[in-house]
Amino acid sequence: MSKKIVQLKTPLGEEVLKLKAGDHVELSGIVYTARDEAHLRMMENGVPFDPKGAVIFHCGPVIRDKKVIAAGPTTSARMNELSGFLIEKGVRGLIGKGGMGATVRKQLKGTAVYFAFTGGCAALASSHMTLNGVHYEDLGMAEAVWEIGLDRLPLVVGIDSHGNDIFDAARRKSETVMRKYS
């Protein structure tokens, strides 16, 4: 890789606006895991942490003895219709796999970014993590909101705050190739 790796620490601020899709980032500081159930509860009851500059990690980790054992990303597209309110409340970053829809791309514009973390890399992820706390533990291990401290987790900017989306670019390329068959 010729380009420099950007170092970021949560809570995030205006610095995310400088990020471009395709930039490699190492993220440190607290992030909050949330899947479908946690999003629904936060929508109804409010966010149980300060959302200003916060980063949400689409992940259902395996936790044992107050340690993060495995914490790979889950498919972010499931949260396509559930993320707008978080961005409105000041969330500056989402982490997941597979990218998100056009709605989220618009919601991120001028304010926040989507980071991709490599799918299936649960052992690598947990080696960069310490457990800080938990909210909504009654939702079960996978759906609870875990407060996780990151130490330089390697990410790539998948969707930036200017509407550039490398997932969408790859998708459009594959569409063109597929069309040649029919």
């Binding site: 890789m1 010729s2 380009k3 395709g22 490699h24 259902g60 980790p61 395996v62 044992r64 054992i69 495995a70 914490a71 790979g72 498919t75 597209a77 796999k97 597979g98 990218g99 991709a116 973390f117 490599t118 799918g119 299936g120 890399c121 649960a122 052992a123 690598l124 947990s126 080696s127 390697p154 790539v156 998948g158 490398i166 997932f167 670019a169 790859a170 998708r171 390329k173 594959s174 569409e175 190739v177 597929m178 068959y181």
Partner: protein
């Protein structure tokens, strides 16, 4: 039913335990080789970063003895039985016992639920699960292929017209295209051609157990067509949407051409352990 103290029962349960544990922690050498080869050849800088993470993850999982992915799959078992051992119901019970033990001790994520009530059994066994495939062989050996949902869900089957065998390549490419980023590419593709409707699907899954670091000209040709899609590692774009294509065929009806595609993520996990009798 034999007791858990029966030596054959114990040997099979232990072999299942070891094969499952090994499969979720360490990739087979041929799979690691194709990942390393692709990592070295990939030209897209974002995709190169994904390969770096994948290789680091494999190294950490092996060093710490932890599962490489949190989706430790459902147990797909291939059992070979030598001529002097008669097959009995107890073989199924012994393998299930090994699955329950490994789920608790590694630990593995309990993934198996009732398909309709969605009630989780908590131990990765259930009605017809582990999925067992039994064949005669030289030794009593258990192969475990833990299958994660992200990739399995993207698999497809079709019954083509016998005159349209040129459409096989299109069907494989289309399957990978429709899957996009969801199966955690770069994927490994098992293709079953021929047999019956159900047989083609079984062939496609068995193809994933074949060495992935050698391919026939036909397999190479399909791989090349798939990689033109440019979906790349994790759907971020790149040269490697797939790492390998493996094809298995069987005789079929003259009026049929069944084709099944079983998608596997980059972690083509499987391990074989001989039961010590």
């Amino acid at each position: 039913m034999k007791t858990p103290d029966d030596p054959l029962h114990k040997a099979l349960a232990d072999a299942t335990f070891q094969a499952y544990r090994q499969a979720v922690i360490r990739l087979p050498p041929d799979v690691l080789r194709v990942i390393e080869k692709a990592a070295a050849a990939e030209t897209n800088p974002v995709a190169r970063g994904e390969f770096t993470n994948i290789l680091k993850n494999i190294e950490i999982a092996e060093r710490l003895g932890v599962p490489m992915c949190q989706d430790t799959g459902v147990p797909v078992i291939y059992l070979t039985i030598p001529p002097d051992v008669p097959l009995s119901q107890d073989f199924y019970d012994a393998v299930a016992e090994g699955v329950r033990r490994v789920t608790k001790e590694v630990p593995l994520r309990p993934n198996v639920v009732d398909p309709l009530t969605r009630h989780n059994t908590g131990d990765n066994t259930g009605a017809g699960m582990p999925a067992m495939h039994v064949k005669p062989g030289k030794t009593l050996a258990v192969t475990v292929l833990p299958k994660g949902a992200g990739a399995e869900n993207m698999s497809r089957i079709t019954m083509l017209l016998p005159s349209k065998k040129d459409l096989i390549e299109k069907f494989v490419v289309e399957t990978v295209y429709l899957a996009g980023s969801r199966p955690c590419p770069p994927v490994i593709i098992g293709v079953g051609i021929g047999g019956t409707f159900d047989g083609a699907a079984a062939l496609a899954k068995e193809a994933l157990l074949e060495p992935v670091d050698t391919m026939t000209e036909y397999e190479q040709q399909i791989l090349c067509a798939v990689n033109k899609l440019g979906i790349g590692p994790m759907g971020l774009g790149g040269d490697f949407t797939a790492l390998a294509v493996k094809v298995k065929t069987a005789g079929c009806h003259t009026a049929s051409l069944p084709v099944a595609v079983n998608i596997q993520c980059w972690a083509n996990r499987h391990a074989t352990v001989e039961a010590k009798r």
